[in-house]
């Protein structure tokens, strides 16, 4: 866990890519889940943030 946080603080690609992947996956789940309308409403912004973050962080150093 501390390696992951250190990686985030030092702007390393691996942890940031994992974080953005997590956001994308969360956004997709929120979009398609049948339980909460509010989750569906906010799904797009979560996916968008995850995708933009992924594009940016894939250019970070290893």
């Amino acid at each position: 866990m501390s390696t992951f946080v250190n990686g985030l603080l030092r702007f390393r690609r691996g942890p940031w890519e994992n974080l953005s992947t997590l956001l994308i996956a969360l956004g997709v789940v929120m979009l398609m889940q049948p339980f909460f309308l509010w989750a569906f409403t906010y799904s797009f912004i979560v996916t968008l943030i995850g995708t933009v973050l992924f594009i940016i962080t894939s250019h970070f150093p290893e």
Binding site: S20, T21, I24, A25, V28, F40, T41, F44, T47, F54
Partner: protein, 315 residues
């Protein structure tokens, strides 16, 4: 000295053209070759995408080009993301996605595992299994529409043979909750071979010496399967899941031919609903926002797909 075609071409090139080409750097020549592709990409992909983003903030209707276009800001997005109907369509899409992927992975992996053994007729069997994947979705849609006919379709008779339920007593494409399963069956029939091929590539990439070492250590076949086979095929499987996920998220043709989104809205996937909004109700601005939401989702999934692909490459 031999006279090659290149030498002959060089001699045939007019001096003024040769001088011009000789003056170009390697980089310039590379750009010259790439330029038509970049131009096409910009004209066919990038420009329409940017235009769609712009339209998604307006109330533009393509069937009324003369009407004044009003800037509505984020209102289209707000309406889509609070619409119960679209939420229900997303759940229909999710039902289709989850079941097709689960069935395709289970059947595809099992088939790959069986095909991976050496036996007579292995190649012929592999070819027969991958045949559905080579058919056009339009052909598959029409073909299965006939198979699902309650009166003359083969599918109902097979069900009757195994369960005793009379063939003409149910309709796979009609009301009664079976339509959403009928599209899952067809997609699974068509695309399981694809998952099987990817799993087969994964299984064949595992070196024999790993199993030999496990045999020496007296690891049981069950343990070998869970500690060697599954972890080493997993990146390939992940790739197949993501690829099928992206493809099925935008599934359109096959389902339109089978059910047209019906009965009612039972099989109304997001892509079919989007087409209705754009080209039947002519709400271009609204449907542009809808398309952007689907695009961002597919783009996000594709990013994960590329990451998984790179991981497989690193192995």
């Amino acid at each position: 000295m031999t006279d090659t075609p290149i030498d002959r071409m060089a001699r045939a090139t007019p001096p003024h053209v040769a001088r011009r080409v000789r003056g170009l750097s390697d980089r310039a020549i590379a750009w010259l070759f790439v330029a038509p592709t970049i131009f096409l990409l910009l004209a066919i992909n990038i420009f329409p995408l940017i235009w769609t983003v712009r339209l998604s903030f307006t109330n533009f209707a393509a069937n009324r080009p003369g009407r004044e276009v009003e800037w509505v800001g984020l209102r289209n997005y707000q309406r889509i993301l609070t619409d119960d109907g679209i939420w229900a369509n997303m759940q229909t899409t999710a039902h289709f996605l989850i079941w097709t992927i689960t069935l395709q992975v289970l059947i595809g992996f099992t088939l790959a595992w069986l095909i991976n053994r050496k036996f007579r007729g292995n190649d012929l069997l592999t070819t027969l299994i991958v045949l559905p994947m080579m058919l056009s979705p339009a052909v598959v849609g029409n073909f299965w529409t006939f198979l699902y006919q309650p009166q003359i379709g083969l599918f109902n008779y097979v069900v009757e043979l195994f369960t005793g339920v009379p063939a003409s007593s149910f309709s796979m494409l009609g009301a009664g909750g079976l339509a959403k399963w009928s599209i899952i069956i067809v997609d699974t029939w068509m695309w399981t071979p694809f998952v099987m091929l990817i799993c087969l590539a994964g299984l064949r990439s595992i070196p024999d010496y790993i199993y030999e070492a496990a045999d020496v250590d007296r690891a049981s076949k069950w343990r070998q399967f869970w500690t060697i086979t599954v972890p080493m095929v997993l990146p390939f499987l992940m790739l197949a899941v993501l690829f099928r996920g992206i493809e099925n998220f935008k599934m359109f043709d096959m389902v339109v031919l089978l059910t047209g989104g019906g009965p009612g809205n039972e099989t109304l996937l997001a892509s079919i609903d989007l087409k209705r909004e754009a080209f039947e109700k002519w709400r271009t601005g609204y449907s542009s926002a809808y398309a952007i939401i689907l695009f961002v989702t597919v783009f996000g999934l594709a990013s994960i797909y590329v990451k998984a692909l790179n991981k497989v490459k690193e192995r």
